[in-house]
Structures are given as C-alpha cells and as structure tokens.
Amino acid sequence: MAATLDPAVLDRIAEARKRPEEGVRFFYEADSLKVEANGCSLFETGAVIMDYLAAHSNEAAVVSAEVIDGTDPEVLSAVLLTGADYGLTAVAVRPNSQGGGWLVATPSGTGLRLYEGQDCEALVGGVGHAGLADRIRQANTPRGCVFVATEQPVKLALATPGADVSEAVAKANSEGIPVFARTLKALYGLEMITWAPTSERSRAQAGFTPRSTVTS
C-alpha cells in the first residue's frame, strides 16, 4: 500500500538487511506501549503495534506507542494505514534522526486518506482532537517514532490535501507500480531467500516423474 503512494519505498525494501539478532522487546510504561526495536524493521513491529493500539482503542480517548531504534521509516505510511483500516485516526511523529515530521492516516468516506508534513505545531493545530493534540505535543522531539491513535471522530484541518489511498491502490492495480529493474531484481532476491536448495531427490519431490521412480 505504501508503494502505491510512493514507489521509492520499494527501493528501500530492496535494501533490506539481515534482522539484528537482539530482536524486539515490548514493555508498558505510563499507559503507553514501548518498543525497543534494536535495529529491527518497522515491517516487523509496525503491524502488531497497530493491532495492539486498535485492540485497546476503546479503553481510552487516545492510545499510543513509541518505537526506539526502529528502522525502515519509509513504511510508516503502510503501518498507519493498517490502523486507519481498523477505523483509527493514526498519527506517527518521526524522530529528528529519521528526518522528523509527521504522518496521519484516517478513514475517509469509503476509503482511507494519508497526510504528511514537517511542522508538528501545525499538526497539533489541525488534528481536530484535543487528546491527540496533547499527545502529539508531548511527542514533539521524540527519541523514537511515536504512534498516537484514536477511534473517536476527528475533524482534520490540515494545510495539506492528503492522498486518497483507495485511488492510489486502484491506480496501482490497473496501471502497476513503476519500479527500477535493479529494485525488482533485489526484491526477487528476497523472495528467493525462502527457496530451498535443489537436488536430484528434491526435483523428484515435485512429482513430475513417473510413479515407478517416486518413493513417497
């Protein structure tokens, strides 16, 4: 979904590195989920964070999480859209180490809409929800990436028109997503990591050999 809005995301994914051995730690602190990503990708942590926030979104006006030392901030839009798909208005505030700025994803009519900007004060002023605004203000210079979400209605009044995600997905479905050959090759390489080495026995295990030579 992120790639339908920004095909360059694929270039970043194509450079995926091996997962750090230390792995991810989740813990709870002051009504917020904390995630020590230790260099692990938002691919790994992002979706489950949104699942968690959605699961608890009816218990408080605003739910939040912070990811320390996460990587691949390019997929933030996809992470937030997962939340918006659950009916949340989901905000991410990036740390300065990852370029700063913010993204908002929200349900809109029958689809989803994504907004992006740099000025957090402008976001506070335009988010249209007191609880969200407070929490965003607190996250103004975060150590990690801060996620804030609410299932309550919001009245966004942002300077940016945002992107219609459903339209972008429909366009990608019918026209495709432009991608560099080298990126495609690298993505294909990632898929091939899941392929097992072959052998004569392995080839027989496809079953395209006469019955008499197959033992199982």
Partner: protein, 598 residues
C-alpha cells in the same frame, strides 16, 4: 495484558455445525427461496446439503466431477451466448515452425488483442513445470484492450528474451500464456496435413498449457485492476480464455506450418479441430493454493452442493428422466473415449462406465419419487467417483437454478481476509469450538500425521514436498498444515484470559496473525476448511489437484503420479467459427490423453 487464565482449551467441546445448520450467504438464500417457492421448501433443500464433516474430506473432494457450474463450462457458455468474436488478424510462419500470430477479440463491446509467438521445436518434451522457467515452445499475451502495432512488437521482443526474471510486461496485459507442444501429436498432425491428409480423428490436443502467468506476475495487471465491467473480470475467466486461445492458436499453427511446407496442404477438418482441446498438467502447488484461499474452496463447494440439493429435492419427471438418460449416455461415451493409462489412484473407467450403465437401467424402472431417493441409492451402491459423476449430471438437470446462483462464484471468491484486533479471546475460543472441533480433536501425536513438509525450491520456486527428518531444508517449510496451525493457536490461547484481545496475542505471537485472521474471516462460511491433514504422510496431492480440476471444468483428469495430474480443457468445445454461428457448447467434453509425457 492479562495472562492469568490457564484453563485447558479442550474439553466438553460441542459438535461442529453441519453445513445444513450453517446459514447460507444471503444471496444464495434469496435465490434458493425464490426458486424453491418459499421458505419451507428452501429449508428442505438446505436439509439435503451434505454436512461438512462428510463433504470436506479429501476422500469426498477428490471424487468431484466437472459440471455446469465449473469455470470452463460457464465461460464457454458465455462466449457462445454473448456472441464473442475471435479473428486471426495476421500470422507469419517460418520453415522451422517459428512464427507470430495476432488475434483480434470482440467480446461484449470490448476489443482485446491476443498475440502468440511460436519457437522452433528444440526436441525437448516439456511437461510445463515451473522449474522450466522460460523454456517453452510458445508464449502468448492477452491484452486488456486493443494493442497497437508498436505495443505488439514490444511484447514479441520481450518473449524473445526467453530468460525468466528478465522478461517483463505491463499492466496493459492480463497475462502470458506459455505453452508447449505435444511432440508426438503436433508433428503427426503437421505431417498429415502437409501430405494433404487429415490426421487420425481421436487426438486429444496439440499443445499443453504451461501455466497462465497473470494477476501481477511479470508485471501483468492485477486481477483487481481489470475493469469491473470487463468480461474477464471474473475468477478464472481470464485463465480459461487464455488457454482457450492457446487451443485456437495450436490449431492455426499446425495449419500454417503445413501450408508453409506445402501450399496445397490440407487444413484441419473442423470436426477434428473441434475435438482438440488443450492439454494440462498440474502439480502439487495447486494444493497449496487451495489451502491459502480456503474461501475459494468454500465458495465452489457451497454453490455446487446447493445446486445438487436443489435437484435432489425435485420429483423425477418423465422429461427429467429422459434428459438424465441422454446425459448418462453422453458421459459414458466420454469415459469410453478416454485412455487414462494409469488407474491406480482412481476408480477405473470401465467400472464407472458399468456403474453408469446400471444407473441408467434404474432410471427405466425407478420407483423413487424424487432425485434425493435415487441419489441415496446411487451413493449407497457405488463408489465415490460414480456418485459424484452422477451428482454432476443431477446438477446439470436444473440449468436455470445453476445460472441463478452462479454469480456467487464471483462474489464469494473476492472476500478479504480481515483481522479483527479487538476480538476477545473468549469470542475467538467460541469460534474455534464452533468451527474447528474436527481440527482440535485431530490426534497429531503420531509423526505420520504431519510427516511431510512443503517447500519452494530454488528451481524457479517450484513447489515440492519433503519428509521431516529424512530431508534437509525443513526450515524452508511453507504453509500447508492448517490443522497444526489451529492447534497451536488454541494452545497459545490457553495462556490468555477471556478478556484479552487479539491485538495482545499477536504482539506476543506475531506468527499467529495469519491463524487468527483465518479463523476469524472463515467464521460463518459453510464448507470453509478441508478436514484432513495435508501434511499427513499418506495424503495424496493428486486427490486435491483433481478436485481443483473438476471445479475448473477439466474432464478425465488422471494422476500419473501421486503429485501430478493431467487432463484436457475445452475438448469438443466450440471453435471461433462456431461462435460466429452461435453453436451451443457441449455440456461435457471428451478427454483422451494418450501420450506419456515423461
């Protein structure tokens, strides 16, 4: 997060619902009520639908036979009824058998282009397996719309790259149709025609389908990107049309090569050409598809079973008896014409023929008042394959009702697999109790129950099946074991309190995200899961491949090994010339596979 509830999940579980106890999707319920003539009759029909505990076993599914509700049959009727036109616009063929063909298609107000590129015969017989990569005897491309000359030439140039991974198309293309020659049949036919003679009449096919590459693969358009009002915006219609076009191309190609060799060469007689289908070999990857898209399986089965129950509820009239008699005679002809070569995994054709003849005799002195009674007698007397063959003929007896419920084959298949993070553990446990008792009670203590692991090979990602402990690479296992997955989910849930949410569970166990969403989204769908272990040592992939083939519309699918099934599509179906003359398609196809392929 609460993790205090350590109550055992299993124990005192209620019996799972039978299909007849499960609500039909509203669309089907409405069509049934209308056609049956009221709620009471509709309930009676529903009561004749077999329970999932019986129907969703591999032993039952493997016996399914093609019917009016199979995709190839529906697609053929559509081509005829809606007056499709397929015109060979231009062709060029060289002495070595290579060539380029361009077809124009007019279908329901839309124009499409199909192009086909033939390569010289390299002397290598190809089954059409994924590991073959770009090693094919032909490539074709079906465009969403009408393609320009420049675009056509660009696609031909792409084919000539002939290197998997380096060949890319665009979203203007619905898919590619790689295919391979039947070495024996193809050359035999060309030789006969070049000599001015017609070939022998009972050939099955000239080319074999090499796997329709579509829905995003190689850069082709996504299925969801095909405009909703496009005639191919329906599950498997593009696939069916693609292989139909390969069939037409194969006929045009032999005619063209023969003419190239001898300007006075004969051209294939239309009746012989009509009897040529397109060969198809399928491997065990089809089982993986069935496991990954269980709502497809559920959709196909519920539509078929409902149609069957509807007919069973009907009285045996003289007219219906007569039509059944004709259908049996025709079906016997198909079996007689086929040559399965290997019958180790199927009911032998001779046996099915004898059984159908017996059923036909029963028709003459039937004392049953309804088809339900008759079908019960058939089921009680004969094997599963005979039973399901007869059931398919029963389905064909009620074409109006079949056509009324057929739209569900599209609607039911495009369901999204959602995940509900707010669902409580208590609710999910309830779903598991309701829908998965059969899986939770499955005894996996014996290694044989999950002895096989399925994996993709570095040979182009080809799907293969190894044995745990014996074969290395178990860490490459891909998903197939739904029973193991559900049992693990139930086991993990014992560590959570009733109030915990799915969002909590996946934070701790992200690997269970898929399991939870599978259980969630299939809830309420009749016939949603295959109720056997596909990872079992004794599971025969060919059984589910045959089920898949029956749903697609293949006749006479026969396994050549436990993991490899072949058959023929579109044999005895209309040719483009027939379409222009609006010839009704046959309701069944002749299948004669006479070639050993490996």
């Amino acid at each position: 997060m609460k993790m205090t509830d350590l109550r055992s999940f299993k124990g005192n579980l209620p019996m799972s619902k039978t299909a007849s106890e499960t609500d039909l999707p509203p669309f089907l319920q409405e069509r049934l009520t209308e056609a049956a003539g009221g709620k009471e009759q509709a309930e009676r029909v529903q009561g004749m639908m077999r329970p999932a505990d019986e129907l969703m076993r591999v032993e039952s599914l493997k016996c399914f036979k093609a019917s009016r509700l199979s995709f190839a049959d529906m697609f053929s009727r559509r081509m005829v009824e809606r007056n499709w036109r397929i015109i060979l616009a231009r062709s060029e063929v060289h002495a070595d058998g290579s060539g380029k063909f361009v077809y124009n298609v007019e279908a329901e107000g839309r124009r499409m282009t199909y192009i086909a590129r033939a390569y010289p015969w390299d002397g290598i017989e190809k089954v059409g397996r994924r590991a073959d990569g770009a090693l094919r005897d032909m490539f074709g491309a079906l465009f969403v719309g009408e393609a320009s000359e420049e675009r056509i030439e660009r696609e031909f140039a792409t084919f000539d790259v002939k290197s998997e991974g380096d060949m890319r198309t665009t979203a203007e293309v619905i898919g590619w149709t790689p295919a391979n020659r039947s070495s024996r049949h193809f050359d035999t036919v060309v030789d006969s025609l070049a000599a001015g003679k017609q070939p022998e009449a009972d050939l099955a096919y000239l080319m074999r389908n090499g796997g329709f590459q579509s829905s995003g693969r190689n850069g082709s358009v996504s299925f969801h990107g095909i405009p909703r009002d496009h005639p191919l915006s329906h599950p498997f219609y593009a696939d069916m049309f693609a292989i139909y076009l390969v069939r037409i191309f194969s006929i045009d190609l032999v005619n063209a090569i023969a003419r190239r060799r001898n300007p006075d060469a004969a051209q294939l007689d239309r009746s012989i050409a009509r009897n040529l289908g397109i060969g198809n070999s399928s491997g065990q990857g089809m089982c993986v598809a069935l496991q990954r898209w269980p709502h497809w399986v559920a959709t196909w089965v519920v539509v078929r079973e409902l149609a069957l129950a509807f007919t069973k509820n009907r009285a045996i009239t003289a007219n219906a008896r007569s039509r059944m008699h004709a259908a049996i005679v025709h079906t016997i002809d198909i079996y007689k014409a086929s040559d399965p070569q290997v019958e180790d995994y199927v009911t032998p054709n001779e046996e099915i023929i004898a059984n159908l003849e017996a059923i036909d005799r029963w028709l003459d002195d039937a004392d049953a008042s309804s088809w339900n009674e008759f079908a019960k007698k058939v089921a009680a007397t004969f094997d599963g394959e005979t039973r399901e063959q007869f059931n398919s003929l029963l389905i064909d007896l009620e074409p109006e009702f079949c056509d009324a419920i057929a739209p569900w084959l599209r609607s039911g298949s495009i369901r999204r697999r959602d995940f509900d993070p707010r669902m409580s553990v208590a609710v999910l446990r309830g779903i598991l109790r309701r829908n998965y008792t059969w899986a939770l009670e499955y005894d996996r203590t014996l290694v044989s129950t999950h002895q096989c692991f399925w994996y993709h090979s570095e040979d182009n990602g080809e799907q293969r099946r190894g044995e745990r402990v014996i074969d290395p690479h178990e860490e490459f296992e891909s998903f197939i074991d739904h029973i193991g997955l559900v049992q693990r989910l139930a086991s993990v849930l014992t560590a959570y309190g009733d109030d915990a949410r799915m969002g909590d569970v996946v934070l701790d166990h992200p690997d269970l995200h898929y399991a939870i969403s599978r259980v969630q989204y299939l809830d309420g769908i009749p016939y949603a899961e295959i109720r056997d272990s596909v990872a079992h040592k004794d599971f025969i992939p060919a059984d589910l491949i045959r089920f898949y083939h029956a749903c697609l519309g293949m006749r006479g699918a026969t396994p050549l090994s436990i993991r490899y099934v072949r058959g023929t599509f579109f044999q005895a179906e209309p040719l483009p010339q027939d379409l222009s003359e609006k010839t009704a398609p046959q309701t069944t196809q002749v299948s004669t596979q006479k070639e050993v392929q490996v």
